[in-house]
């Protein structure tokens, strides 16, 4: 990260860097080739056909066979090349938007104008992100206020960080070092101050760093403390054996699909857990009444992430890949409307 002498490529420090740089190089070469052709012919024609006398040049009939061949050539060749660019870019993007199942989770909260980061193990940091080298890292991100964007040029990836939503971003750092974090979506006065540093460390160094931790226990433990403190357990059982009629049992619920009161179904993912805390009356699980008060305004995004992590830790799908469309978790994914009969029929099939 120390300013080196003049460079044209940022540090290449993630699994994506090589792919993105390769595509970039291909595009630079193609563009340079076409730019030079166009520049050459502009200058060449301007000189070669400079006005010499008053004779009128014969217009060329572009509808003739030669003209049509030309028109088709210079339409089809660029089209073909651009389809290569499209395909290549799409393949890279597809990988970028599919985090590996066993990626290490880190939680990011953006706030005017800082990055707050929580590790599953409980360590917390501000404007710094410590991660081990050669491990797949998946960031789950949200914002407390406006839209931000978590951008690490050395990793060649970024993603918007939106309020009211979880977005994800993943990468595998390949090189030990320190790299810039930039906020890439304009977010107000100190936008350019919303920067930080990613420290990519060896696994051993990372373990040492974690060991220094916050002393507050893991995120799930902190989430459990919050769960007890807020009295969630009065209605929501969190062990498999216990049930009551008031609220769904949270043990093992993460990653499953539940039937809702209005007949639709929803996958219990991070977004749905968050939504259920903040707007419990929105989508109620079938068989329960609308009795839960909202915790909107009482919970920070950081606290919510801890609760999410706690519910995830109750299994069974803990650590499993994101079930919804990766790269983006909409708080309210499109619901499939099922008639009341439809739900019964489905239940019957099971």
């Amino acid at each position: 990260m120390e300013p080196r002498s003049f460079q044209l490529f940022p540090e290449a420090a993630s699994n994506f860097a090589g792919q993105v740089d390769g595509l970039y190089a291909f595009l630079v070469l193609t563009s340079a080739f076409f730019s030079l052709i166009i520049a050459f012919f502009t200058v060449f024609f301007a000189i070669k056909y400079r006005r010499k006398d008053n004779t009128i040049p014969t217009p060329i009939d572009e509808h003739g066979i030669g003209g049509m061949i030309l028109e088709i050539t210079w339409s089809v060749i660029p089209l073909g090349l651009s389809m290569v660019m499209f395909g290549w870019g799409a393949v890279i993007f597809f990988t970028e938007s599919r985090p590996p199942a066993d990626a290490m989770n880190v939680y990011v909260t953006g706030k005017q104008w800082m990055w707050k980061i929580q590790h599953q193990e409980g360590a917390r940091e501000i404007n710094e992100l410590h991660i081990p080298v050669d491990r797949d890292i998946r960031l789950t991100m949200t914002s407390e206020d406006v839209i931000h964007d978590f951008f690490v040029p050395a990793f060649r990836t970024k993603s918007d960080v939106l309020p009211g939503k979880y977005t994800t971003e993943w990468f595998r750092p390949t090189k030990i070092g320190a790299y810039h974090i930039f906020c890439a979506e304009y977010c107000g006065t100190k936008h350019s101050g919303m920067i930080g540093v990613v420290y990519v460390m060896s696994q051993a160094d990372y373990n040492d760093w974690l060991a220094k931790g916050s002393g507050e226990g893991s995120m799930a433990e902190q989430g459990q403390a919050l769960f007890n403190q807020l009295g969630c357990g009065n209605c929501h059982p969190s062990t498999v054996q216990r049930t009551n009629g008031r609220a769904p049992n949270l043990a093992g619920i993460y990653g499953t699909t539940v039937d809702l009161k209005d007949g639709s179904r929803v996958k219990v993912d991070e977004a749905y857990i968050r939504e259920s805390v903040l707007n419990p009356e929105g989508r109620i699980v079938a068989g329960y009444d609308n009795i839960m008060p909202t915790f909107k305004g009482l919970m920070t995004e950081d606290g919510l992430l801890k609760l999410v992590e706690y519910v995830k830790s109750l299994g069974p799908a803990n650590g499993a890949p994101m079930p919804a469309v990766p790269g983006t978790v909409d708080l309210n994914p499109k619901q499939t409307q099922l008639k009341a009969g439809g739900t019964a029929a489905q239940a019957g099939k099971k």
Binding site: K261, D262, E281, G282, I284, K334, Q337
Partner: protein, 220 residues
């Protein structure tokens, strides 16, 4: 006066060209209006799709009977407007004025009923903002989106009605002077297009805001 209005403007070759230009111009204008309302319809549809339960319960809060009455009023006003255009084209001065006045009255009725509905929403704190409340709504936060769309769409529609009423007043004054006849009545005809357009927008708004999920099938 009449000669002044009917005169061919200097830059047109003939009356036919002038009329054609006005007609195309009006239709193009209506296209822009469709796009203008289109933005709001898009927002409505996106949110309705995202929060069906909230929208269903919130739309039950609208007054079906007042909405239906207003729909009838507007359809009638389109008829009177069409008749005004018809009599303008055959030059029946008194009948033009009569039907323009009827259109004006029906338009006024619509706005009156609308303001009763607005007042009702105001009383029940159903206007999005700080004091928003929605008794019995499935999901108050997203129900407020319904009302935001409701006020945005009906408000924009009402604005068009108000502008229309001012134009009718102008047309009535001109018609009383006998400005419109078989050879020239472009303003009445163009305004007719506008009025029908505003009517049609309502024909879409009424089912979207008042009718869908009225049966209670989706009550969350």
């Amino acid at each position: 006066m009449a000669s002044q209005s009917t005169a061919l403007q200097h830059h047109f070759e003939n009356a036919e060209q002038q009329k054609d230009a006005s007609t195309i111009g009006m239709w193009v204008f209506l296209v822009t209006e469709i796009m203008f309302f289109g933005g709001l319809f898009l927002a409505y549809m996106v949110y309705r799709q995202a929060y069906p339960a909230a929208f269903a319960s919130a739309s039950n809060k609208t007054d079906l009977w007042l909405g239906a009455a207003n729909t009838t009023v507007l359809i009638c006003s389109s008829l009177t407007m069409a008749l005004a255009v018809h009599y303008a084209s055959i030059g029946k001065k008194n009948l033009i004025v009569l039907f323009l006045v009827l259109t004006l009255l029906l338009g006024g009725t619509f706005l009156g009923v609308k303001s009763v509905e607005y007042h009702d929403k105001w009383v029940h704190h159903e206007i999005p903002g700080a004091n928003f409340e929605c008794e019995g709504c499935a999901d108050a936060q997203h129900a407020s989106l319904f009302f935001a769309c409701y006020f945005g769409m009906t408000g924009l529609h009402a604005t068009h009605m108000i502008i229309g009423i001012f134009i009718i007043l102008y047309l009535i004054v001109k018609a009383r002077k006998g400005d419109y006849g078989p050879e020239w009545h472009t303003p009445v005809e163009m305004f007719g297009l506008y009025w029908h357009f505003v009517d049609i927008v309502w024909i879409f708004l009424f089912p979207l805001l008042y009718l869908i999920d009225r049966s209670g099938g989706l009550k969350g």
